[in-house]
Amino acid sequence: MAAGESNISSHIQHHLTNAKMCTVDGSVAFNKACSEAGFWVLHIDSLAWSIGLGILFLWLFRIAAVKASRDQLAVPGKFQCFVELLVEFVDSNVKSTFYGNSKLIAPLALTIFVWVFLMNLMDLVPVDVLPALAGWIGFTFFGVESQNVYMKIVPTTDINTTAALAMGVFVLMIGYSIKIKGVVGFIKELTLHPFHAKNVVVQALLVPFNLLLEVLALITKPFSLALRLYGNLYAGEMIFILIGIIGLLQLPLHFIWAVFHILVIVLQAFVFMMLTIVYLSMASADNH
């Protein structure tokens, strides 16, 4: 049935499209009007959900922090114990991997872990609920056809979110490399390894190869970070959407995939955090 198939594919397409915002001819435009805007588009659903979840994370942890600093030796409540458990967990991971002395790494790792986890967690909300709600709101209050209201609630299934995280880590990698080894040391690291020769001429010939290899090694790191998280979550979301269109049989399947996905979302958050620590540790290690 051609109509059914196109219905299904448009349903999937609808689920996989971000809510867009851009300016067209000096005025704000949304969604399909932005198809010509190219780079200059904001995915407002990704931004809203990720920033909202980030604020939720910081708000909750700030409450625990305020309580903790009010009376450091008071018996902590359950919530505060949980928060401190997470902090302790991240701290021990950082301490066992990152040997430098940095006030930034541990809070960075905690932010990445909890924030990415919360963003991934949105994947467990049944796929049709929030888009349908958004469509209803759009239709009822703004008179927009619900087919034209987009709502992608998992920010980590948007490459922009994962790439932004990876870029942040990449900037810190460069920053740490330069801070620890100096500009000259960093350039030396990029050009004099892995192939090294005593003869100056041979060494000069080897520099382009070294540069190619090292730069490639350097930039694959943020790419792998961004694409790993994006790929895992995008695939998971895709499966949820596909399960969602098969009718009543979806219930057990959805349950099984959701249970499996609980593992994936925690694991991906943890992997992102650990790789961030490892990359920054490598960047600040002066062992070449």
Binding site: S50, L58, R62, S69, Q72, E84, L110, T111, N160, G168
Partner: protein, 156 residues
Amino acid sequence: MNLTLTIIGQMIAFAVFVVFCMKFVWPPLMDAIEARQKKIADGLAATDRAEKDLALAQDKAKDQLKDAKAHAAEIIEQAKKREAKMIDEAIAKANAEREHILAQAKAEVDAERIRAREELRKQVASLAVAGAERILQRSIDEAAHSDILEKLVAEL
């Protein structure tokens, strides 16, 4: 999979979150955790110390008890010795007293006997004299035969 301006927005959000976490979330929590860890470590150390102190005190108490027992035994021993000594002394004293009293009584008795005998002698003498006087009333001159009578009296 299209990169858009969103990436810049997300990076800004990321940076802000990390900075906020670094300034206002991590340090107070870490301080509290460390403070509590220190408190727990102190508490455990104090418990260890208290246990050691208790063991020491128990040892000391045991030693003291042993000393006290030994001391008490010694005191009892001394008291017994002293008691025996006192009894002996008392017996000796009582014996001496008895001897003394006996001796005194004997002396008194002796003196009394001597006096009585003396008196008796005198009375016998006078009785003899009286008798002799009655018998020899007429023939014997008391004054002339007094030497004989004296002799008689001395012989009694």
